[in-house]
Symmetry: C2
Amino acid sequence: MDLEARAHAEHPEELRLWLRLLTCTQLVERELRTRLRDEFETTLPRFDLMAQLERVPSGLRMSELSRRMMVTGGNVTGITDQLEAEGLVERVPVEGDRRAFSVRLTPAGRKQFKAMAERHESWIVDAFAGLSSTEIQALHQLLGKVKHHFQEIA
Amino acid sequence: MDLEARAHAEHPEELRLWLRLLTCTQLVERELRTRLRDEFETTLPRFDLMAQLERVPSGLRMSELSRRMMVTGGNVTGITDQLEAEGLVERVPVEGDRRAFSVRLTPAGRKQFKAMAERHESWIVDAFAGLSSTEIQALHQLLGKVKHHFQEIA
């Protein structure tokens, strides 16, 4: 199924661009979901949650963790419960706030994330293997303009 | 929150490209969700479902409709029920299969979709207003190479 089929010829080039952008993002995401499942029996939201925690060794409060998640569709509390039961993350009290806690990776979680992140990186390299290094830079730069435009209008 | 913060300098350029691609897709999607809610009190999955039906006037079976959805997170049966209650879609029997039905837009649904699609198109034009026509073509062509690579390895 080619999502771009929706972009009829009479539509502006921006719409065709948007559908292609969405298609490419979904192709990469689907590849990541399949490989995470096949090689690590895990999901993209679980990987994403662990990736956010990996960047902040001291841990993140649930609200902050939810805000940082890059993929949608995951239930942050549910995933945290699962990962905690598996010994990959732990809840720790927040100093100075008796009712609050934050979540952080355990040493086992850190180790497992590292293994997944290395594979993830190589899958991403494979995903863009159709482009030369010059093309990767050109694409990065053009998408930078798109992003910059959003920052200006925000 | 800048998702690209995750791409540390030691990571390959492909990873930085992927995070920027994901960021741009999410920026456009967030804009669409906000505007659909503010201007039409609707959601992206509802818009997406109606867009799929608009392309096939005779209607689609639920399974085919699910398969064609471009955005994740929507419950196709639930959305269809809602839209049917609002008179925007209708379930019709499938000829030659007593137990099956397909879903199609009603005239009211078609009219409402047309109004949304026109606005959607102008939001998309705005989203890429940071690019010249030449840059839009270059971006479209580079993303075409990414897509083509996936078709080759599939």
